[in-house]
């Protein structure tokens, strides 16, 4: 038998950014046909390393061998020629184009001077079937789900002949069902002889699909082990450098007066039909109410109505007894509501602003920072330094643009800002998406701390274990209505799963009044 071939070897890679060594003498060996996981804390340098491999960054030191031959990967197109493809966490698709048009863009099959769309569609269809991707080549990107868009990105790399596929946190944006399907696709790819490098923070996924895992901490390789020879606790400890507690420890909730009460809210969704159908719920001081549901059952619309970004056509929202229905986001925010948005790049941060300015995005006009229309930048900087220290946001400086921070640290910064507003109600939407286990533990503790301080917390998440572990009560949303409310301690994924598919309506139906 032939020994297994090494397809990627990175030797002594060092990449520096101003004020930080993102990759510090990194060695990585990937064998043909394996799924190789890269694991590490937020900001450890995983994306940077893969961007080096894909030719987006040039390392200061080190060399790369592809199929045992030394190469210089000076640009993504060189990487393409070497058979390397990358699926970024943020997709790069043209919304108005069809699936096929996106895939062949820059590589169009021609007949004469014309693009031969028919043969392009055929080629895409063939690839899609070969790997079980089930993509409709004629659909427009704007009409398909995030999960499908990701598959288009995968097809794009395959169409360009990639044999080595890099996935940067592919599952962070997927629903649980889509994750199961993606794992299947990855298995198909490997079966067909492809090699996959997978960045993920989810230890479960690593244990389920990967062969080898390389752990990076603060830019250095800590270890590279076979998945068979390790376990989640061990991996977490290696990655964070200490024991990680997966169980969420919390005291019994002590709910008091009602903080948020949503009464029969109806609101139109983007598609012109009602996304919220007379929904009602209550959150009390000192409790965490989790909202579980299959993506697209009105979760986003509910948050938008609560935060003033979407108009409700009927019903009332009361915050501490005060009517905030259809008020402006500013008024609502000032009456004691904080919000950790689901899409941190689009809604949470101004990426080109320095961290310091991002930390006062909602409070810059307060007398603390605003002196007769002029901003007190000394006060703003001091405020930012304090928050960044307190919430352990890893950034070279408070004047670094938000864009340069790793995803996890961006999220920590947003949470710092929102919690610091000392709200009565904290809405957290997918607060731990894309975070490492250490950071997840940290954020869960912060949410519970808010609860214990007597705040009301509304948690929305697609991850059922997060909902079950962190919440005190769980409301299940289905087609814009709450179909049941359960005690978090007395439920499990099966029961929730059933309710989420509209299968079982709990007695009491509405909001338990």
């Amino acid at each position: 038998m032939k020994p297994v071939q090494t397809v990627v070897e990175m030797r002594g890679i060092t990449k520096r950014f101003p004020g930080i060594i993102a990759n510090d003498n990194i060695n990585l060996v990937v064998k043909k046909g394996e799924i190789h996981a890269l694991l590490g804390e937020n900001g450890a340098g995983k994306s940077t390393l893969m961007n080096v491999l894909f030719g987006l960054y040039q390392p200061e030191e080190g060399e790369i061998l592809i199929n045992e031959k030394p190469v210089k990967i000076t640009s993504p197109s060189v990487a393409n020629d070497l058979g390397i493809g990358m699926v970024h966490q943020h997709f790069m698709l043209v919304e108005k184009f069809t699936v096929t048009e996106n895939i062949v863009l820059g590589n169009e099959p021609k007949s004469g001077l014309q693009i031969d769309m028919q043969s392009a569609i055929k080629a895409v269809e063939k690839l899609s079937n070969q790997y079980g991707l089930k993509v409709d080549p004629r659909a427009k990107i704007e009409d398909i789900s995030v999960g499908m868009q990701q598959r288009v990105e995968i097809l794009k790399t395959l169409y360009r002949g990639a044999d080595i596929l890099i996935f940067d946190e592919p599952t962070a944006v997927l629903t649980p069902q889509e994750i199961v399907e993606l794992i299947e696709i990855m298995h198909n790819l490997v079966k067909e002889g492809k090699t996959i490098i997978l960045i993920t923070h989810k230890l479960k996924e690593i244990m389920a699909v990967c062969d080898t895992v390389t752990i990076i901490r603060r830019g250095k390789v800590i270890d590279s082990v076979g998945v068979k020879d390790t376990n989640p606790d061990d991996l977490a400890a290696k990655m964070v450098g200490r024991e990680v507690n997966f169980r969420v420890d919390k005291k019994e909730a002590n709910p008091k007066e009602v903080i948020l009460s949503v009464e029969n809210i109806t609101a139109m969704g983007n598609r012109g039909v009602n996304a919220l159908n007379s929904i009602s719920l209550e959150v009390r001081s000192g409790e965490i109410l989790g909202i579980a549901g299959v993506d697209g059952n009105g979760q986003s619309e509910l948050i938008e109505v609560l935060t003033g970004l979407r108009k409700a056509s009927s019903g009332r929202v009361l915050l501490k007894g005060q009517d905030i229905t259809n008020k402006t986001p500013r008024v609502i925010s000032e009456s004691g509501l904080s919000h950790i948005p689901e899409d941190r790049h689009k809604h949470g941060l101004v990426l080109d602003f320095p961290m310091s300015e991002n930390m006062v995005l909602e409070t810059y006009f307060h007398p603390e920072f605003n002196k007769n229309g002029f901003l007190d930048y000394a006060a703003i900087d001091k405020h930012a330094s304090k928050l960044i220290e307190e919430f352990d946001v890893r950034t070279p400086s408070i004047h670094t643009p938000a864009r340069a921070l790793s995803g996890g640290n961006q999220q920590k910064a947003i949470i710092a800002r929102e919690v610091n507003k000392d709200p009565d109600l904290l809405i957290a939407a997918q607060p731990t998406r894309g975070l490492d286990v250490g950071a997840i533990e940290f954020i869960h503790r912060r949410l519970i701390e808010q609860r214990d301080k007597g705040k009301a917390v509304l948690l929305l998440s697609l991850e059922l274990d997060e909902i079950i572990n962190v919440s005190d009560r769980i409301a299940v949303i289905y087609e814009g209505q709450i179909v049941g409310i359960v005690d978090a301690k007395q439920t499990d994924e099966q029961e929730l799963g059933l309710m989420m598919s509209g299968g079982k309506r709990m007695q009491g139906g509405g909001n338990g009044e």
Binding site: H347, E362, Y364
Partner: protein, 356 residues
């Protein structure tokens, strides 16, 4: 000393300088191809600009409106808006100050400032129309500002013809002396080149631009909306109001520019057959200047020198005006295409990286 070196090797400084050099080289190639002597041409450009105190003064006059329109475009751009309408705002500023300058009889210390303020407000409102259409109706500002340019041109011509026409001429009457902002004393020093207080106003406008955007609460909002309107809305800012405000301030800069041309340079308003072009050149100036106030001033100086010096190239080396436009365009092209320029200066930058 090290600080100074650091500034001069900074990418933000190196790139435009390299772009200018590349542009001038490309222009030289074009001139060679056309059978002209580029060295002689550039020499006569420099000669034209710096050769006599009159011409030097006139170069400053040429630069001044470009600072205003450059600031106008840059300011809107900072809020994420593409203001193609500096031209129209400039014209409306002209006609407003002409009207005030002719119609009133006031002491100079009131009359002149009043005429400038009229130009500023008129230009600002003209810009705000496009801002309002965008905010309230979602109409793209590129389209509305272009249309407003033409409306401004014909409206101004109509006003001159209907109310202020100088008998038998294609222009308005003269404005009252009390409204003039000419700087007589300085003019004399420069051989009666048409220098005026507007140049000082332009510098002040750039300072105002900087303070407003980077020191005030409103500027914080304007920049946030420009960079990420979604996050700004989430953070409770009123995106639409900021769009209108940004277009108003942008229009105000252009409007003052127009007012200064009337009150400081011509002292009357001509019936225009075509757009004066300062607004369009302002787009290029803002681009060269990277939409920063200091950059706009430097960009306007470059642009003003090139356009004014062009006459010298024509006389000194026989280069036709069209070819001079090619030189100017090459400079803009290289500034806009950072990528290409960075490619050329890569060795320089890498050496620097190795150094520290």
């Amino acid at each position: 000393m090290n600080r100074v070196i650091a500034i001069f090797t900074k990418e933000s400084f190196l790139v435009p300088v390299a772009a200018i050099i590349l542009g001038l080289l490309t222009g030289a190639v074009a001139m060679l191809a056309g059978g002209f002597n580029p060295i002689q041409a550039y020499a006569s450009l420099v000669e034209k600009v710096f050769g006599s105190s009159y011409n030097f003064g006139e170069t400053i006059r040429q630069i001044t409106p470009l600072i205003f329109t450059g600031l106008s475009v840059a300011f809107a751009f900072r809020t994420g808006l593409f203001n193609i309408g500096a031209e129209g705002q400039f014209i409306i500023g002209m006609i407003a100050s002409t009207a005030v300058g002719i119609s009133f009889d006031l002491p100079a210390y009131i009359h002149a400032p009043l005429a400038v303020i009229a130009g500023a407000l008129a230009g600002g409102l003209w810009g705000a129309i496009a801002g309002w259409l965008k905010a309230a109706r979602g109409v793209n500002e590129v389209i509305t500002t272009i249309m407003l340019n033409w409306i401004a041109l014909y409206f101004a011509n109509y006003v001159v013809k209907a109310f202020y026409l100088q008998e038998g001429q294609q222009r308005s009457e003269m404005i009252k002396d009390s409204a003039s902002i000419s700087f007589a004393w300085l003019s004399q020093m420069f051989d009666s080149a048409r220098l005026h207080w507007g140049t000082l106003l332009a510098i002040l406008a750039a300072v105002f631009f900087y303070i407003l955007l980077w020191k005030t609460k409103s500027g914080f909002e304007l920049r946030a909306v420009g960079l990420n309107p979604h996050a700004s809305e989430y953070a409770g800012m009123n995106v639409n109001r900021n769009v209108v405000n940004a277009m108003f301030v942008g229009g105000m800069f252009a409007g003052i520019g127009g007012a200064c041309e009337i009150l400081g340079v011509f002292h009357y308003q001509s019936i225009m057959a075509a757009q004066p072009g300062y607004g369009f050149d302002g787009i290029a100036v803002a681009l060269i200047g990277g939409n920063t106030p200091l950059g706009v001033i430097l960009g306007a100086i470059l642009f003003g020198m090139l356009t004014f010096g062009a006459a010298g190239m024509k006389f000194g080396a026989g280069v036709p005006v069209e070819l001079i436009r090619v030189v100017i365009s090459s400079v803009i092209f290289f500034v806009a295409a950072h990528g290409i320029v960075k490619f050329f200066i890569k060795p320089l930058l890498q050496k620097k990286e190795g150094g520290n």
